[in-house]
């Protein structure tokens, strides 16, 4: 088949028509392909959601048990008195009560300003209701007859509740000149401790 220039000129119309037809077909193909891709994407999302919902339904008993367990822990925290506002007055009263009960020598204390607990490895996620664990540094200076006084004091402070008592450091040293003579009730040791008093700060306690 051989066509000259004039024949090709006359074929412009059919060429254009053929291109339009092909264009229509390709456009239809692209549109339908997009529709299909969108539909499959939506289907995948719906299937993922369905799977997730089914998982949640199948794990509902486990979830309920977890909530009950968490509630038990929360109740434990509440019973320790560590939920809500700091109970500094109660702390001081506890210190005084322990000193009296244990017949301890002088106890000096300082309570620092409250801060967010920033222990290594503990990241407090931002909670929707604004609850945060906060700690107040309690610095203790004590005169001791023996080291057992300090250990008993810390144990009593923890038992007294009103917060989570977390000792961070303690230093015990011999009182110069107390080793030999003197009465039996003179302090022989000096201790200084740093204890974090941790509470769960709730929005209503702010």
């Amino acid at each position: 088949m051989r066509l000259d220039r004039s024949d090709l000129k006359r074929l412009r119309g059919p060429i254009a028509a053929a291109l339009i037809l092909i264009g229509i077909g390709v456009a239809a193909l692209i549109v339908s392909d997009n529709r299909l891709v969108e539909a499959r994407k939506a289907q995948k999302a719906a299937q993922d959601q369905l799977r997730s919902t089914r998982d949640r339904v199948s794990r509902v008993a486990e979830e309920e048990r977890e909530i009950r367990d968490n509630l038990v822990h929360f109740e434990k925290m509440a019973s320790r008195g560590m939920v809500g506002a700091e109970k500094r007055l109660e702390w001081i009263e506890s210190i005084a009560a322990i000193r009296q009960r244990r017949r301890l020598f002088e106890i000096r204390y300082t309570v620092d300003a409250q801060r967010v607990v920033d222990y290594p490895g503990i990241v407090q996620a931002r909670k929707s209701d604004g609850t945060t664990f906060v700690a107040s540094k309690l610095k203790l200076e004590m005169q001791l007859l023996h080291e057992g006084d300090l250990l008993d004091f810390l144990a009593d402070l923890q038992t007294a509740g009103n917060s989570l008592v977390s000792p961070r450091s303690c230093s015990i040293s011999r009182v110069e000149g107390a080793g030999g003579g003197g009465g039996p009730m003179r302090p022989r040791l000096r201790a200084s401790c740093v204890v974090d008093m941790i509470t769960l700060k709730t929005p209503d306690a702010a």
Binding site: A17, G25, L36, R54, F74, M77, Y119, A125
Partner: protein
């Protein structure tokens, strides 16, 4: 606009003899005469008007003329451009005018070298075509054919199965004798015949059959030992008896009479004008089969080619469009099915969510949101794991201390730390930190330690008795190490025995009276 007429235009068959041209229209097996144009200026002019009236028809020119030449030649086996050049040269050598010439390949044969058998054919007097072809200049001329070219196709349509035979057919122009071998035309000639007298026509047929058999032998197309030649005669049913009488079989010829009307029917020709002989069958077969091989060159078929290109473009475009639309339809259908499934999934998800909400309603009330409660409890437990009272750890140290009464405790610093070794190294620059100590830095949450720096003095030993001091400290270190979980991470002796530290001393009475001091750093991992 008639779309069908555009896509499937009317077919018009032009039957050319030496003295006139007849025009027929053909549609689904119906052949209708549309005109007859005598050779000469008036006839050609009328024909030109006829053609101009139907410019969109496809025209097939069938020549039934005496001047048709057939020559077989063996050519060296070449392909591509070389073959085209060789064939063009051979045609030019053989024919003065090659505008109406063609070549048919008859296969290859292996002699001393591989050769191609080629049949050259042409109308030797092209002048008689010129006026008609001139009138067809602007028409869609599909091709110029001869009855000889159509003969093998006709034989196939009426199911002639013999490998080689001569087909005898009476037309207006005379008695056409076409020799067909292996489905290919090999030779054809037009003989005279008296169509008005059937008896004479039958006798002429018998005589011409004998003549062509002899001629083919002379041309060496047939060998002398090839046996009797099959001769197929298309006979009108009414004249069959004359042919039966005239055409009797003999050692050279085997006659087979084929009823023309039956052949027309079996070939699918539904009706044809009165008075046509075998040409109606040839014309019908041509219109139905449209053989690829024909005589006209590209210049004569230019408008037909333009129409084919147009049709190809439009039908190609339409086919691509249709295919795309079909695929797109399938995709839309697929998308609809997916969306249906999607709706079903969403419904199930919604039911599942409702079911979950119903189950959730049974959950106990929580003071915080569930997620916050979970995080709070997790954080609390983590803090709890880091919270220890010093009493157990100090109790272990006390137990170790009790085993070495010469050691008198001066000071004890206890704290929770992340990296006891680095801490010990910072306090006491001892090479013990080489023993796989982790690098200083932020401690991992799960690696927290209770660390105690013990400062003590040794009693009951002279200040210069370093061996005794070393033995007591070692005894104390061993006692500490025996306690479960305890690890001694640093020791500062009264006298440094290690070679990479500087040693200084004051051997005096005052120094000798003072109790030697040392320090030890001991740690225990929280939770161990």
């Amino acid at each position: 606009m008639n779309l069908r007429a555009h896509i499937v235009p009317d077919k018009r068959l032009l039957y050319l003899t030496s003295h006139r041209l007849q025009a027929f229209s053909w549609k689904v097996g119906v052949l209708a005469r549309e005109g007859a144009f005598e050779a000469g200026e008036a006839g050609v002019a009328a024909f030109a008007r006829y053609v101009a009236a139907s410019p969109k028809s496809l025209y097939y020119l069938v020549a039934d003329l005496v001047d048709e030449d057939f020559v077989q030649e063996n050519l060296p086996y070449v392909r591509g451009g070389d073959r085209r050049a060789l064939i063009a040269r051979k045609l030019a050598q053989r024919y003065r005018d090659t505008t109406l010439a063609l070549t048919l390949t008859l296969g290859t044969q292996q002699a001393a070298r591989r050769e191609e058998r080629v049949l050259f054919s042409s109308f030797t007097n092209t002048q008689q075509f010129q006026p008609w072809l001139e009138a067809l200049k602007t028409a869609r001329l599909v091709g110029v054919y001869s009855l000889a070219l159509i003969a093998p196709l006709l034989a196939k349509r009426i199911k002639l199965l013999a490998p080689s035979f001569v087909l005898m057919s009476h037309q207006e122009s005379g008695l056409r004798q076409s020799y067909v071998e292996d489905g290919q035309i090999r030779f054809s000639r037009l003989g005279r015949a008296e169509s008005a007298d059937p008896r004479a026509a039958a006798e002429a047929c018998a005589a011409e059959s004998a003549r062509i058999q002899q001629y083919l032998i002379n041309l060496r197309v047939l060998s002398r030992e090839s046996g009797p030649l099959d001769v197929v005669v298309l006979t009108p049913a009414a004249e069959r008896r004359f042919y039966e009488a005239a055409c009797s079989n003999n050692p050279r010829l085997n006659f087979h009479l084929v009823d023309l009307e039956s052949a027309c029917r079996s070939a699918g020709l539904k009706s044809a004008p009165e008075g046509l002989l075998c040409e109606r069958l040839f014309l019908h077969v041509l219109a139905e089969t449209q053989p690829r091989r024909q005589f006209a060159g590209d210049a004569l078929r230019r408008h037909y080619h333009a129409w084919v290109a147009r049709l190809a473009l439009l039908s190609g475009g339409a086919a691509v469009c249709a295919l795309c639309l079909l695929l797109s339809g399938l995709k839309f259908l697929d998308a609809a099915l997916v969306r249906e499934q999607l709706a079903s999934d969403r419904l199930q998800e919604s039911r599942g969510a409702q079911q979950y909400a119903g189950l959730q309603a049974r959950f106990p009330k929580t003071p915080l949101s569930r997620e916050d409660l979970k995080q709070t409890v997790q954080t609390f437990n983590a803090m709890l794991r880091q919270t220890v009272l010093p009493s157990p750890f100090l109790g272990e140290i006390s137990t170790a201390l009790a085993t070495v009464p010469q050691v008198d405790l001066d000071k004890l610093d206890w704290e929770i730390a992340g990296s006891p070794r680095s801490r010990a190294a910072a306090n006491v620059p001892r090479p013990e930190s080489r023993r796989g100590a982790p690098a200083a830095g932020a401690p991992a949450a799960s690696r927290l330690y209770e660390v105690a720096d013990i400062s003590a003095r040794i009693t009951g030993v002279q200040g210069g008795d370093y061996r005794a001091m070393k033995a007591i400290v070692s005894q104390f270190v061993d006692a500490l190490r025996q306690r479960p979980g305890l690890e001694v991470v640093g020791t500062h002796m009264p006298f440094d025995f290690l070679a990479d530290n500087t040693v200084a001393g004051d051997i005096s009475e005052e120094e000798r009276n003072e109790a030697p001091k040392f320090s030890i750093t001991v740690s225990r991992r929280i939770g161990s």
